[in-house]
């Protein structure tokens, strides 16, 4: 074991680079198919979570009503994922006799949504709440309606926090979506579970590496989107401006002193 370190890495690389592992064969589902399945669960769960948590977080932050929902959602994080998954499967999948995939997909997506909602909700809420009260006051004082204040001021200013919530939700989804393979569903978890069962450690570790790579790539994509969506006034990435001349801070006007003396 102690001397096998180099070999394990080599074996994992071999497993990952073997073209026959990437495409489907008569006996095995390949990496590409499982990757797509994995992305599919995660994307579905993320979209549903966004559709729930974003409006809710904006509403709670803007009106300051229903704070308890944020706390309650956070408490959901404590639920044991696999336990909930099994429970939901037992309840739900019998309803889908003959269409077993749907029977397993629904519990999986629910579990994932439960995981993704809390960080998005909490960050959206915090983002809106953290908007400088002076800015909010100025906005409504200038005659913006409630929804104008929300969408023209509070939302754009909250975007960095919202994005960080979405990114952490996405990471968690990608890592946790491996549990789908606990059920007879695909996804990158398949390699991990199968590798474990067959004591095929290169396959198991290879699956893990793929999950990590997907997570990194996703985060990169989201970070890029964030960069273009969030105002430069907030990120501090100001456009280059030729400021060869120091700011003219308006010289003191002596005649003003004289006149008002």
């Amino acid at each position: 074991m102690a001397t096998g370190g180099g070999d394990v890495i080599g074996d994992v690389v071999t497993w990952l680079t073997d073209p026959s592992h990437w495409t489907d064969t008569r006996f095995d589902t390949g990496i590409i198919t499982q990757l797509l399945a994995h992305v599919r669960f995660c994307a579905m769960a993320l979209l549903i979570a966004l559709a729930i948590a974003l409006p809710l977080g904006l509403f709670i932050g803007h009106t300051d009503r229903g704070r308890w929902l944020v706390a309650a959602a956070n408490a959901l994080r404590a639920l044991p994922t696999v336990g909930v998954l099994v429970l939901l499967t037992v309840i739900i999948s019998p309803q889908f006799q003959g269409r077993t995939d749907t029977g397993f997909l629904i519990p999986t997506v629910i579990v994932l949504v439960l995981l993704a909602v809390p960080p998005i909700l909490a960050n959206t809420f915090a983002g809106v709440q953290n908007v400088d009260p002076g800015v909010r006051d100025a906005a409504s004082g200038m005659g913006m309606t409630g929804s104008q204040v929300l969408f023209r001021v509070e939302l754009p200013i909250s975007l960095p926090l919202i994005f960080s919530g979405v990114r952490s939700a996405a990471l968690q989804l990608i890592a946790t979506a491996t549990v789908a393979s606990y059920l007879p569903l695909g996804g990158l978890g398949r390699f991990i579970y199968d590798g474990l069962a067959q004591q095929d450690y290169p396959q198991m570790i290879g699956g893990g590496v793929l999950v990590a790579a997907l997570a990194l790539l996703t985060d990169l994509v989201l970070a890029t989107v964030q960069r273009y969506v969030v105002s430069r006034g907030i990120t501090g990435r100001y456009a280059n401006e030729r400021t060869a001349v120091p700011d003219s801070r308006l010289a003191v006007l002596p005649e003003a002193e004289v006149a008002r003396g």
């Binding site: 100001y238 401006e241 008002r260």
Partner: protein, 366 residues
């Protein structure tokens, strides 16, 4: 015109922030609300644009009851400036200024070009327009706040301690510029401050409030300083109110004596019947006093470095306070009087200014 008609605000916790306020803020004038912390200034101000709803009473905007208007429409007709400017951090300066025109559906291009004009008006160079608020100093942000409030050319402006978060030098500049701007624009302004000096400097009319939301006195600055109605107002306007009241008493045309001068850059004169000699530039604008007692090398010229610049100037027709200050701050004891263009008229002594002060009417009015 804004009229508070027996307006009272009682907060849900029972605090009476404003008690039966009767006040008229005249059109085209600056009405300053001043008073100690917690006396209800902000509450009074924010009831005008209904950021706070009065518990009872009516606030009239010209002849309209503000309570009868939709709040967002009312607010778009009223400029609003707050302490830390409250600029939108995600928007460029020009878009910040154009906020209300955008809300009103003004064409974007036109709204931006108006915004650019306003930026210039409040003294910000055009290259600031594309910056974001975080790239501006506090004083500059405050200017943008004022420009933003003016963007839709509202007849009325509400300002809550707009200049209190900047250092004294910048504050003075902002105040002076604000007065100049108001001279052009003639808005109906309600201005809140806790600084009596600012109140007296800016207000056409000053309303002093006391804690509990009672109006103690409404008067012109001069009257407030010379005739406070009670001990509270007297204490609030301060100990040196007599001296400050001189700021509102014009000296008339000062009869000055002519002052011998030397031009800057000229050879240092030798021998003089006085210890101090006034240096002027080519346009006869006073530059400073030359100390004739100091020994200088032969052949030297009058340079900036040799001049004592401590003295203030008084413009012909300026206030008695400015005249007295010019005398007191001058190393020669002679106050320098200049004309509108800044050229030397002559000098005057403190004794002469005191005579003018004594000769004033016992109860000055403006």
């Amino acid at each position: 015109m804004i009229r508070f008609d027996s307006v009272t605000k009682r907060y849900p916790d029972g605090t009476v922030a404003v008690d039966d306020l009767e006040l008229v803020a005249a059109s085209g004038q600056i009405t300053v609300l001043v008073g100690p912390s917690g006396c209800g200034k902000t509450t009074s101000l924010r009831m005008v644009n209904r950021m706070i709803e009065p518990t009872s009473g009516t606030i009239w905007l010209d002849d309209e009851d503000t309570a009868s208007m939709a709040t967002h429409e009312l607010r778009r007709r009223i400029g609003y400036v707050i302490q830390h400017a409250g600029l939108f951090p995600h928007k460029t300066i020009v878009d910040n200024v154009a906020t209300v025109p955008f809300l009103l559906g003004t064409d974007k291009k036109r709204a931006r070009s108006t915004a650019m004009e306003l930026l210039e008006r409040v003294g910000l160079p055009a290259h600031f327009a594309k910056r974001y608020p975080a790239q501006l100093s506090g004083g500059q942000q405050q200017r943008v706040g004022v420009a933003r409030a003016l963007a839709a050319d509202p007849p009325v402006m509400l300002m809550d301690e707009p200049f209190s978060a900047v250092d004294p030098v910048v504050r003075e500049q902002l105040q002076d510029e604000f007065l100049r701007l108001q001279q052009d624009l003639g808005k109906t302004i309600v201005f809140v401050t806790h600084d009596i000096d600012e109140a007296v400097k800016l207000g056409d009319q000053v309303a002093v409030l006391r804690v509990g939301g009672h109006l103690a006195q409404v008067a012109t600055p001069a009257e407030l300083l010379s005739r406070p109605v009670d001990a509270f107002v007297a204490g609030f306007v301060g100990r040196d109110r007599g001296y400050r009241a001189l700021g509102f008493a014009t000296a008339g045309t000062l009869s000055t004596r002519s002052e011998p001068t030397v031009a800057t850059g000229a050879p240092l004169p030798t021998g003089s019947d006085d210890d101090w000699l006034l240096a002027v530039d080519g346009a006869r604008a006073p530059q400073g006093w030359l100390d004739m007692r100091a020994s200088a090398p032969a052949g030297a010229t009058v340079t900036d470095g040799l001049l004592h610049r401590g003295g203030t100037l008084v413009t012909q027709g300026g206030s008695l306070r400015a005249a007295l200050d010019a005398c007191l701050s001058s190393p020669s004891g002679r106050g320098v009087v200049v004309d509108e263009g800044g050229a030397l008229v002559g000098t005057i002594t403190a004794a002469e200014v005191l005579e003018l002060i004594e000769a004033r009417e016992p109860e000055p009015r403006t």
